[in-house]
């Protein structure tokens, strides 16, 4: 366990709010741009939500409380037996909480991490299959911490009957996991559901689940509740079908679609893991996200966190807030709420300032796409860059300390340069057990494999050995832009490589771009 703690990048909560740079993006990529086109009342709801707004995730933290153990369906990617503290993926928790414990923990975390804006209940089972526990937690929190947003994530089976109560407790964000709208495909994902006091297998069960999900989605949208749809991309099962899912949920009013990769390893003990079902490659995932995008915002910064995660996205400080540690904390709730308000004001002021200074620099990719016939010859090749950052939108992490990289894509057309956020890639793919888990591949080799498809790597510093190994692997390391805003730095490195002729350019583009 000690390994895990040492391995993590050191969180610097005190330094984060506005102390430096910050993400100066008009939007970190296409989904932020698309969020900007949403009606004002929706934008206001997602502005500070790290899971719904790509830009907000650089600044704000979230937490999940594991109060909901029971589930009413079985998914082939889930195994309820698993609980390893080295694991970071949905459905996994270390400690089940009662609603009272969850409230105490939330207030403790909110006092220690003032950037925390969102409390979610996501499991480890299905929150709405445990309505008493889930709703009791929300009830107490809306009373004791009115400045914290509440959200819930569900498979949707019990959603229609609970929409009324959800709205009563003023939960304005709901995530529904919808992997299909076709029962035949559903039968390959959900072996059974528990419905009206019976276990219902196969296609019949999948049909009921799909109907309930769609009904719940419609009811929430009709009431003005924000709905995000999560889909797990399972190659060979629902990959092509997800385009249809995206179309259907968008028509019903979902505001964000989050296509996530299947996580399946034999050691997880899930059906897919044991049976050898593969997950998608980064390329496959990105291609599908692009195809689903259309006019709806796609979410690309999801970290598929645990049902008891605490902290900024991509980070988990859960170990600092175990039940006994929380019990020993002495917290002044009033003072904590005041401090949160101050910290948020500082973050907002810095976000606003950055946004203003930025707007001329980059043309959002969405507007480029709409302008269509672009003079093709002037376009330069797209290049991807991996960035080491701890948050705040700046390059501030040592290469060797990065547990994940944010991948950005730069493209140029004529004089316009566009930098967009593509994905977050984890180095240790959901397991931070390190050498103790018997994985022979060394950490650096693993990191380099994570960076596949990238042209360069931007970090605050990098050691000599990793520098050489990156170069040997055909990557361009760069440590010259420490503490600079990510997109400015990516743009600068892209320009530099382009000028030096080091980007793989199609012959046509090279001939005409000089």
């Amino acid at each position: 366990m000690a390994l895990v703690a040492l391995d993590r990048p050191l969180p610097t909560p005190a330094a984060t709010p506005g102390a430096s740079g910050g993400c100066s993006a008009g939007g970190c990529g296409s989904s932020a741009d698309k969020l900007a086109q949403l009606p004002e009342h929706i934008r206001a709801k997602v502005h500070n939500h790290p899971c719904f707004s790509e830009e907000a995730h650089h600044h704000y933290a979230r937490m999940h409380v594991a109060v909901a153990p029971a589930c009413n369906i079985q998914c082939h990617y889930c195994n309820r037996k698993y609980d390893c503290s080295n694991e970071s993926r949905p459905g996994v928790v270390s400690e089940l909480l009662t609603p009272e414990q969850a409230v105490k923990k939330t207030l403790a975390v909110a006092a220690e991490i003032p950037q925390m804006t969102v409390l979610g209940i996501a499991g480890p089972g299905d929150p709405l299959a445990n309505p008493e526990r889930t709703l009791a937690t929300f009830r107490a929190l809306s009373k004791n911490a009115p400045d914290i947003k509440l959200c819930v994530s569900t498979n949707g089976l019990a959603l229609p009957e609970l929409v009324g109560e959800i709205c009563e407790h003023n939960i304005d964000h709901v995530t529904i996991t919808i992997n299909c709208v076709d029962p035949e495909i559903g039968a390959k994902i959900y072996p059974w559901i528990f419905w009206n006091n019976r276990r219902i297998m196969g296609m019949k069960g999948a049909r009921i689940l799909i109907e309930q999900q769609q009904k719940g989605l419609q009811m929430l949208c009709d009431r003005g509740v924000l709905v995000k749809v999560n889909s797990v991309l399972i190659p060979g099962v629902n990959d092509q079908h997800l385009k249809e899912v995206s179309r259907v949920v968008k028509a019903k009013g979902a505001f964000l679609h989050n296509v996530m990769p299947l996580i399946a390893e034999p050691e997880h003990g899930s059906f897919y893991g044991l049976m050898g079902q593969r997950g998608p490659s980064d390329e496959e995932l990105q291609a599908l996200q692009d195809e689903c995008a259309g006019d709806m915002a796609m979410m690309r910064h999801c970290r598929q966190c645990r049902a008891d995660a605490v902290g900024m996205l991509g980070e988990d400080r859960g170990a600092e807030f175990t039940l006994d540690k929380v019990a020993a904390m002495d917290i002044d709730y009033e003072a904590a709420m005041k401090r949160r308000a101050e910290v948020r004001a500082v973050i907002e002021a810095s976000r606003a300032a950055q946004q203003q200074g930025r707007s001329q620099t980059f043309i959002p990719i969405t507007s480029l796409k709409r302008k269509k016939p672009q003079p093709a010859p002037a376009a330069s090749p797209a290049a991807r860059f991996a960035v080491a950052t701890t948050g705040g939108g700046v390059i501030d992490q040592h290469f060797g300390q990065a547990r994940e990289f944010l991948v950005y894509e730069a493209t140029a057309a004529g004089n316009d340069l566009d930098v967009r956020f593509l994905a977050a890639r984890k180095v240790d793919l959901y397991c931070s057990g390190g050498d103790t888990c018997g994985d022979a591949e060394d950490r650096l080799a693993k990191t380099i494999r994570t960076l596949e498809g990238c042209t360069g790597v931007l970090c605050s510093r990098i050691g000599f050995e990793p520098w050489e190994r990156l170069e040997a692997a055909g990557l361009v390391p760069n440590g010259e832009h420490a503490m600079e805003p990510i997109e400015d730095a990516v743009a600068a490195v892209y320009r530099e490589l382009l000028a030096e002729g080091r980007l793989d350019a199609p012959a046509k583009a090279v001939a005409l771009s000089a």
Partner: protein, 92 residues
């Protein structure tokens, strides 16, 4: 006759609120069924409730000690087809 929960139980709380006889208690290392109170849901439901929501094959035994959800029954793969199914899935 009464049902019994054995050690493969993962303490997920799925069964506890469903029992019409309040025969299930949370306990360590795993949940237990009060054999005196369990009616196997006779007269209340067509299917025994605990065994109908339990996600773990083999975790609940019937009065004869036989798993209510035998291997393969919840994943939907007949054990005799396991090898063939695995080959099909790996080819995706």
């Amino acid at each position: 006759m009464a049902y019994r929960i054995i050690e493969s139980c993962v303490n997920c709380w799925g069964c506890e609120p469903l029992c019409p006889s309040n025969a299930i208690q949370a306990a360590r290392p795993h949940f237990v069924i009060d054999g005196g109170a369990c009616t196997e849901c006779d007269g209340d439901y067509a299917d025994p409730q605990c065994a109908s929501i339990c996600p773990v094959e083999g975790a609940i035994l019937d009065g004869l000690g036989v798993p209510v959800n035998p291997p393969g029954s919840l994943t939907g793969i007949p054990p005799e087809h396991l090898v063939q199914t695995m080959a099909e899935i790996r080819a995706r």
